[in-house]
Each structure stands twice: as structure tokens, then as C-alpha cells.
Symmetry: C2
Subunit: 653 residues, 2 copies
């Protein structure tokens, strides 16, 4: 059978399975799925180079299904190809049609939207919150380039989905880096969930936007086998030609292809069940007859992947803080005993870069503020640095793609701007990717620039995920909030060594060292800076310095205050409770951010670990503004040393 | 003096003041400011129609400075024009040069980035987190159109800033709605913070992207007075021509215009102080001489605004739940006693739309899921509905613009996708705008679609702002989490009546009514569904229904459990503590979201209001997946009625 007939036959078969599996699940998106029938069949049954039994191998071509709700079509192909399914790598088995029919069941690997973590490793990352896939694809291609692999990365984006600005952030990034290995495929079936798509998302306008941004574009009939094949070959030509622009495919498709009369115009997110299912399957048979492929299943096979690339160079342990400071030109700060946490992060990033070839860094045009520039300006490391420009959604998703590609990505920006990528981060969290995000300029202490630049809600947001348990036990995420450069350095190194998501807050001011340069830190640990008897102050981040000042005053007044540096969340709640008991069960918590953060977690720990305590939570309780000094702001929001003294005195007195 | 000389002279003067005020503040962005010297002078000194003493009047043209860090140039113009400053509307005074020199001081209205709430009402909203201004401008223009005003809205966007995808979401929206009153001005000074901008943000590529998206574009020299004036006039022509495409200006400018030798290439975010300041001022004088305008200040004046438009039609109280259900075609659901909270929201939105002409609604292509379609499909209301498509960043910022324009905007999407606009929401919060955001499909109970569609971290994020105090006292924000349609309806109405930010969670399932149709609700209130003696269950949202089932089982076992429906956060913590005391100080909290949410707030309240309690917090502690029923998922995450029984029994027994 020729290619045209084979692809039509396969498209019919995949559409049929999509209808059946969504009917079995009584939910899902069969019409979106079938609009991709030919494209997915062409990709998975011959064009992509991969081994169905090991679809995530380092050299395999990858498919990011950005419009995740269309996943039944990929599951259909997977059931035909015996694609590996199974949660652990040791528990993989070839997918069957029976597996497909478990779509969306609670004990099934065939999840409602793509998620490799549930046991479908063909997908590089979880998708379903729209607009993120092209950034993930770019990250995968960037990782492949570092590995010397010629892997191709396909990304299918819905027409309505292309309204998401992040898609265009990714487009710019792909042009900037010439990542021609990425092949964006826009699936123009003309319908969103609640309406036909806007004229702004028509094939013509999408193509015009892509061309304006520097892409070559083929606009094709997405159900014409020859057009699909030729476009994919054109993409290969663009990857082989060093001078070529990136290449994208804009495919005009039909929602509910093959059973469009049954589906009706624009039906979205509704399975066809009962008589509707019967009618759709009958209409698919009629479509097959009209195409001359009734009763056949084509003769397409998956194309093997290239041999595995050589293993990456091994990694070593990074040096300690003092050695790193000396090695990387910061000897004078070392002897001064004063260095910003953000700079401690920068030096650690540089040291990690030298120690571990998998460590990569990404920035959003603030590398001279986060001090990620210590990495980017190092000639040995610059090629592993990705400047995402002012595009934080892309920044986080691109990091997710790099993580999916085996790298350890550190994505840093102002903590406030990291919020632009919260949903992207959560998708990476759902994917169980090894994401390291660093937010600088946290808290009101940055003062002059005002609240539009201050991270204040970040602790609460990330804390919600820190309270989720990871699959392997332990917290789903660590929030790290170092108060000095020594701990910032050590915690950055620990982040890199930990397999799992972490968020580090890297404060701006040059603060004095609180720890010996060879002090020990642990994820989940805390520092005891002073033992007390009358009141325990538990502070985190920049607030620790205010608390230290308060301690001196309290001591003069004869009040013995303990001080804990809560540099990690989660932490050892029992230990904190014991310290609190030793301080008369009187606790003041201090943090330079909005509430629902460290202090709230301390309160929960105290309640859990023993009875009645008197606790005063101090955090940012009013919307801040600009001021000319950190002291101005700490006073404005009631977190100055004097405020801490007053609260401690009131509790202890 | 002619226009050319006058504009040059004014540009020199504004640049000089920008250098001086940032020097006085010892921080800020004088070079970004001066790159806008001619454009801002042309806008504020003659083109914009507004009264400097009342720059936020309903008919005044508005300027959204999306690249907020360039604000010194606007402050400079303001000090020349005597623009109103002062925090309360009764405390307004004309701005002076002395005011300008207080830039960024803790007691100054002249904040580091634009923020009307600090006393500079010329700015419609806080900016500084980049990429949001054009969406705000679009919202302002949409509000003006509803008011029958021909207000023009200018928006200045940095070239580097235009990398933010949100800018292109706004561009599509402006084309969709033909909002030609918006005039986007791209300030192409060639530099970001840490680098020259990418070639993707060159004037040529920005213009090509705009044209691809359907704009007419003028690429001009932003320091040529005639070119600037002509481009602004061309924009007016586009607003007057019903058939015209929207129009944008791409201005090639010089960072540090007038003192570029002193500033050096690309200097960002650094004031010029001491000798540098002296040199910059001297160079500005030389520039003035070279332009033939030394020692002059031009003779430009602000252009008055049109007379105030007629006051809007008055509003009335919306009907009660039962009347609304009957009026809007839901009589059968009313008699069934079962209706989804999201539908309760939809009906309330429709009723509010009829009762209050200021209520508007915005959607992100899920109106058939959030039931905002009850509003959009109502012929009387459709013109006040804005379909933002799949672009949630724009959705939230556009709502902020509508709020700034005097409307009461309800922006709804899936709660998960609202996260795409968290930073945008926080900027609205900083602006003290009257934002109403509604997230549907909250929690694992949506089941089949899986975690990419489930809002889980939302409570923690919004809670951090609920713990901030509003300027007028009271909470900075309310989180509302109704468990049934009766409370969803009432709380939506209360949201509209409350002046301030609110976030409502509108669960998906059709749940039975928990309340009489005329029950009373309050922001900050809670419902007592059962009095108990042995254990108090405090549940919120969908979890209330699981708790009700648990109550029945516990009762059979002889355990008297109380049940509180915690539909609001903040809530009356003392009342909860009293109920807990009546239940033996044993409390189980249940919520269908990640932790750091309702239960955490309950723990804080208990500790504050009296001593020792035994508390078990139940929330989503593992990453969910798909399942075919809500029960599957509630069991998977340990929040089923059976789990609640087990925990309650363990505490009580």
C-alpha cells in the first residue's frame, strides 16, 4: 500500500480509537484528537526517530503535545505501536488497545492530559495548561544541542492556543538561538472551547506573525498525506542548513475529521457515547470507504532512533564557599565578611557550572541583578547559559524542557517576576521535573524600586507545594531563604544535588556573614544563632539581620531571646517546638514577605508538637511603597529591629 | 517659538529634571527616562486632552507607562505642569519641582514606579512588572467605549519589554475589538537591563510583528518633533476612521538622549551622581545649544479635556437567589435543589449585569465552563462582555484596566489558568483596583481532566494577600469558596458590592443546596451546618459535601461532630475557636486544595484565640491525576467522607 493510502488508513484507525477511548472514559476531546489524525500518524509512524519501547532515550526525537487535551490521538498511536507505558522504568510494558480504553481511570497510566510521571514516558512533560509546549520543546532542543544530538523536537500547538503570548516568547527564543531542530506545528481546526477562534488565530494571520518573527512557514492541508510528509521533510532541510531560518508548519485541519457530520460544528471536550458513538464509528467507516482504505490499517512503522550518544562527562563536587570565593575573584568580599545572598547564589552557580556539566542557567534579562552573570560571563560556561530575555513564562517552561532533557536548570529572575511563571512552574511540578528556580530582590528590603519589584506572595505560593509529598517521600519542594552569602552558597549547591523542585530566595542587600565559611547546612535544616530563655525569635531571610539587632537591645534590657535562622521550609518542626519550650513557649516569627509563609508554618508545627504557645507573627501586613533605604521600608511595614524588640518585650514581659 | 524648538526645549528640560531627581533619590533610571523625552513632552504638553488638576477625570485621555521604570520623565513633566499629587482626592495639590526631588522617599507620592494609589493619579494603574500596560490600556479604552467617551489611551512599551508575550495578547485583543483609541508606542532605545535587546526586538521586527497581527505602523525617529507630532496625528485619523486598522508607533530613540556621552552605552537603572551628574547636566546644555534652544523652556501647554460625559445610569439591588433562578430560566434547578457553584456564579453575574450597568465580564474561552455565558448570551449584556480568548495574562490586566476605568470587572476562567495572571493580579492589588476574579474547576473533584486543569495552589497564593490590611482597614482581599449555588450566588453579589479585590472559587459539580434560598451571607462569615460536642469539622468548598457524609456516619457511631462551612477567608477566628472549644478542642479541617490554605488559617486562629487544641489538617498532600469520578479523586488524595470519618474518630475517640 502506498504512503497516501497508508496514512489515511492510519488516520482513520487512530480517530476510531480516539472516539472509542473517550467514550469508554465518558470524557475527553475526540474531535480535537481527530483533527491531528494525519499529523500524529505521520510523526509517530515513520517520521520521528525513536524506539517505542524506550521513547525517552537520549537520542530519540520528541513530541510535545502543547494542546494536551488532544492526547487521545497519541494514545491511539501508542496502542498501535506498543509504546512503553508503566510508572517506574523497571515496570514498562508495551501499550495495548486495552490500555487505551482505561483512559482517565484512577489506576491508569493513560491520564486525561499528558503526564510522563503517571507512566507515559513518550511525553517529555505534562501539558494541558495551554501555551507552554513550545517553550518546553525549545528547552529540549537546547539540551540536545549541548549533548551533540541532532534530535528533532516536534510541538503541536492549537490555533486558539496560539493566542497565549508565551507561544510568541518561545518563537523569539527559537529564532535567537537558531533552534531549527524545533518544528512547531499549528493545528488550525478553527475552534476553541467556547467559540470559533478569532480571525487573529486564522492560519493566514498565524503564518504572517511567524514570518514577521523570522520563521519560514508552510501552510498546508493537515489531512493531505503528501502535504504533511513534504512539510516534515522541509523541516529536516531547515535543520540541515546552517543558514536557514527556523521552520514552522501551519496546518488547516478539521475538528472531528472523519466523523464531522456526527460531531457537529466545533464540539469541544465532549465524548461521543451511545448512539453518537455508533454513528461516529459508522461515519469513520464511510470516510475510509470514500478514501479507498476501508478495512485496512496501512503499513507504516516507527522509525528507529540513532544510536545512543556518548555518555556525558562525569561531575565532581563543587568546592566549599571560601575556596569558591577565592577561585572566582571574590577574595576581598571573603575577607570583608559581607556579600549579598544573591551574589552567593551567583558564585555557587559558577562553581556548580565547573563541577557538573549538566548544570545550565537561564535568565530573564536581569543577570546583572541576580548575579547569574557570574555564570554567563565565564567563558567555560557561557555556552550553557540561555538568555530568555524579558519573558518569564518562557523562562520557566524552557527550564522545564532542559530538565526533561536531562539537565539541571537554574532559572533566575527577580522573585516578583518569577510569579509570571507560577503556572508554568506548577506544570513542571506535576511533571516531577528537576526544576531549580531562584528569585532575587525578595521582600521590602529592596526599598527604592517599590512593590512592583518586590517578591512578597512567593513564600505562600511555593509553600503550598512544599506541603505536598514527593512520590519518593519527603517534601515535594523546598523553599530556601538564606540570610547570608555563606548559606546562599551552600543551599544552592544542595539544590543542585537534590533531585526535585526547589525555590531559592536570594536577597539583594550585601549582608554580613552569619556563619563560618565551612558551616554545615541541610535542606530542611535551620540555624540556631542564639539560645534563649525568655522568648524565641524565629526569623527567615533578610529579617534575620533585623532580629540580630533586636537581640542586642533585648539583651541590654535583660531579656534572653533565642534566635533561629529558618533558612528552609519545610523544617524540623519538632526541633523548633523544643526551642520554643526552652523559651517559655513564647515565639516571635519574622519574615520579609506577606503572610501564610514561614510564621504560619511555625504555628502549625507548634500546635502539632505540643500544646499551648504564645506566638506573634510578624510579616508584611500592608502594601509597601518606595523608600530610600531598607531601614525606611522595614520600619514602614513594622519589621524593623525596634518593632521586633517591642513585640518580643510584650511577649516576654 | 515654533513647535520644533518648543518640543526640543521641553525635552531638554524634562531630561534635566530626570537626571536631577534620580540623583536626589540615588536610584532610578534617568537614561530610560530621557529616551522618552520628546514623546512624553509631546503627549503631556499638548496632545493629550486632560486637566492637570484632575488627570483621572472620566473623559481625560490617559497614559499607561508600561515600562514603569521610565517614570521620572513623566514626573518631570508633571512638575512643570502642576499635575495633581496627593493621596486622597481631597488632598490634591499641584506638583512642584520640589515634589519631583522627593522621588522614591518613604513619605513621597513620587514612587519609584508608577502607582496611582501612592498619590499620583495621572497614572491609571501601577506598572513596573513589564508587559502589562497594553492590556490595561485596552481595558481603559473598552470602558471608555461603554461610556460613550472618545478618550484616547496611550501606552508606552519598551523594546525589550515587548518580548513579554502578554503584549501580543493585548495586540490581538485590540484588533479583535477594533480599539483604535489605544495608541501603543514602542520605545526602541535598543537596550534592556543587562544587554542590548535581541534582534527580535528591533524596530523592524516589532513593526513586522505588528503588521502581521493587523496593525498599521509608523516607524519614526522618537526625537524628531515633527515625526512624533505627525505620528500622533496619524493615530487620531485612525480613531476617526471606522474602517481603519489599529495604529501603533514604533519610535527609534536614544537611551540617555541629550547626555549620551556621559551616560555611556546602555546604562540601565543607575543614577548619575556627583561629577557624573554635573557632566550630564553640562552635556544637556550643550545639546540644547546644538539644537538652538539653550536657555528656553518652550511654550507648550496641556490641552484641556472634553467636558465630562453624562453620569451613568443608576444601579439597583439584584434580586435574591430564588427570584434570579426563576427569572433567568433555572426554575427547574431551583426546585431540584441542586446546581453547581459555578452556575450560581453565572446566574449572579447575569443578575448583577441587569442591576448594575457598571458590571462587566471577561472570559478566557471557557465561558461555557464557568457559566459566564449566562452573561455573554444575554442580549442586554453582551456588549459588556469581553472575550479575551486563551490569554489569561491579558484577561487579568484588561480587567484591571476596566476597573481603573470605573467598571466592576468579573474576570473568570478555570482557577488553574487564573494562575497565569497572578503577577497581573498582584499589580492590580498594588494599584488598589476593584478586581473580581473567579476561578472555576477548583480542586481535585473535577477528576477526569487531571491536575493540569485543577486549581490547587490558589488558596495559598491569594491568602497571602488576604492577610494584608486594606488602606481603609479590613482585609486586602477576600477568598470566597462557596460549597453550593445559594452561597455562590450571594457571595458573587457581595463581591460586586464590596469595594476591593476578591477571588471566588466556583466549583464544578452540581451539588445540593446547603442553605435556604434566602439565607444570609457576609464577607468574612461562615455557615454553621451542625453543632457538635466531640469534634468540630471545618470544611470549605466542595469538601463540605464530603464532610456532611462523614457527619452521618459519625452520628451512627455516636460521635457528635459539628460542621462549619468556611466559605470565606478571612473569617471570624474567635467564633471558630469558640465552636472548637464546644467540641472538646478537637478540630478537623478539610479543603480540596494544597495546604497553607483554610486549615492553616484555622490553626492560626485557634492559637491566637485560646490555648491548646488538637487539630488535624486534611488537604491535598499528593499530586493528583485523572480519575473517572470525583469520588475516585477524593479517595486518591485522602479527602473522602471515609477519610474524614477516620480522622474525626481518631481525634474524638
Amino acid at each position: 500500500m502506498g504512503y497516501v493510502e497508508s496514512l489515511h488508513a492510519k488516520a482513520i484507525e487512530l480517530s476510531r480509537l480516539s472516539v472509542e477511548m473517550t467514550a469508554a472514559a465518558d470524557s475527553g476531546h475526540p474531535t480535537s484528537a481527530s483533527s491531528l489524525a494525519h499529523i500524529v500518524a505521520a510523526l509517530m509512524h515513520g517520521h520521528m526517530r525513536y524506539d517505542p519501547s524506550d521513547p525517552a532515550s537520549p537520542t530519540a526525537d520528541r513530541l510535545v503535545l502543547s494542546e494536551g487535551h488532544a492526547c487521545p490521538i497519541v494514545y491511539a498511536a501508542g496502542s498501535e505501536l506498543g509504546l512503553a507505558v508503566g510508572k517506574g522504568s523497571g515496570e514498562r510494558r508495551p501499550m495495548t488497545v486495552e490500555d487505551a480504553m482505561t483512559l482517565r481511570a484512577i489506576d491508569s497510566e493513560i491520564d486525561g492530559h499528558p503526564n510522563p510521571a503517571e507512566g507515559f514516558p513518550f511525553f517529555p512533560a505534562a501539558t494541558g495548561s495551554l501555551g507552554q509546549g513550545l517553550s518546553i520543546a525549545a528547552g529540549l532542543a537546547a539540551a540536545a544541542r549541548l549533548d551533540g544530538s541532532d534530535k528533532r523536537v516536534f510541538c503541536i500547538i492549537g490555533d486558539g492556543e496560539s493566542r497565549e503570548g508565551q507561544v510568541w516568547e518561545a518563537v523569539d527564543f527559537i529564532v535567537d538561538y537558531g533552534l531549527n531542530a524545533v518544528c512547531p506545528i499549528f493545528n488550525c481546526n478553527g475552534y476553541g472551547q467556547s467559540d470559533p477562534v478569532s480571525a487573529q488565530q486564522s492560519p493566514e494571520v498565524i503564518a504572517a506573525k511567524l514570518r514577521g518573527a523570522g520563521f519560514d512557514v508552510a501552510v498546508i492541508d493537515g489531512h493531505d498525506p503528501v502535504a504533511v510528509r513534504d512539510a516534515l521533510i522541509e523541516h529536516v532541510r531547515h535543520t540541515d542548513d546552517a543558514g536557514a531560518r527556523p521552520f514552522a508548519i501551519v496546518a488547516e485541519t478539521v475538528k472531528g475529521w472523519g466523523f464531522v457530520k456526527t460531531a457537529g460544528d466545533g464540539l469541544h471536550g465532549k465524548p461521543l457515547t451511545g448512539d453518537d458513538e455508533t454513528a461516529a464509528l459508522k461515519e469513520l467507516e464511510e470516510t475510509a470507504e470514500a478514501l479507498g482504505v476501508a478495512g485496512t490499517n496501512g503499513d507504516l512503522e516507527a522509525c528507529p532512533a540513532p544510536a545512543t550518544a556518548s555518555p556525558p562527562a562525569g561531575c565532581e563536587s563543587p568546592p566549599g564557599f571560601a575556596e569558591a570565593m577565592n577561585t572566582y575573584g571574590q577574595a576581598s568580599a571573603l575577607s570583608d565578611g559581607k556579600f549579598a545572598p544573591r551574589k552567593g547564589y551567583g558564585i555557587a552557580l559558577q562553581a556548580l557550572g565547573h563541577a557538573n556539566p549538566d548544570v545550565v542557567a537561564l535568565d530573564g534579562d536581569v543577570k546583572n541583578s541576580t548575579f547569574a552573570e557570574y555564570f554567563s560571563q565565564d567563558p567555560d560556561l557561557a555556552h550553557r547559559f540561555f538568555e530568555c530575555r524579558i519573558a518569564e513564562q518562557h523562562l520557566i517552561s524552557c527550564a522545564a524542557g532542559l530538565a526533561s532533557g536531562g539537565k539541571i536548570p537554574f532559572a533566575s529572575s527577580f522573585g516578583k517576576f518569577v510569579a509570571r511563571g507560577y503556572d508554568q512552574f506548577e506544570m513542571g511540578f506535576i511533571s516531577r521535573l528537576n526544576l531549580k528556580v531562584v528569585g532575587s530582590h525578595v521582600g521590602v528590603n529592596i526599598a527604592a524600586d517599590g512593590p512592583s519589584q518586590m517578591a512578597l506572595a512567593d513564600v505562600a505560593f511555593f509553600r503550598s507545594m512544599a506541603k505536598v509529598q514527593a512520590d519518593a517521600g519527603g517534601p515535594g519542594l523546598y523553599i530556601l531563604n538564606p540570610a547570608d552569602a555563606v548559606s546562599a552558597y551552600a543551599l544552592t549547591v544542595l539544590m543542585a544535588e537534590h533531585e526535585g523542585a526547589c525555590y531559592l530566595r536570594a536577597a539583594r542587600p550585601d549582608t554580613p556573614f552569619l556563619y563560618d565559611v565551612d558551616a554545615d547546612f541541610t535542606l530542611g535544616g535551620h540555624g540556631v544563632l542564639a539560645e534563649g530563655a525568655d522568648v524565641l525569635i524565629v526569623a527567615s531571610g533578610y529579617a534575620v539581620h533585623e532580629a540580630l539587632q533586636a537581640l542586642a537591645t533585648l539583651s541590654e534590657e535583660g531579656i534572653k531571646a533565642g534566635l533561629i535562622d529558618l533558612y528552609s521550609l519545610p523544617f524540623d518542626g519538632e526541633a523548633i517546638a523544643q526551642s520554643a519550650q526552652a523559651c517559655g513557649r513564647r515565639v516571635v516569627t519574622v519574615e520579609d514577605n506577606y503572610g501564610a509563609g514561614f510564621g504560619s508554618e511555625v504555628v502549625e508545627a507548634l500546635l502539632e508538637h505540643g500544646g499551648s504557645f504564645r506566638v506573634k507573627q510578624m510579616y508584611v501586613k500592608r502594601i509597601p511603597k518606595s523608600g530610600r533605604s531598607a531601614d525606611d521600608l522595614m520600619t514602614y511595614v513594622g519589621l524593623s529591629a525596634g518593632d521586633i524588640v517591642a513585640e518580643s518585650r510584650a511577649l516576654a514581659g
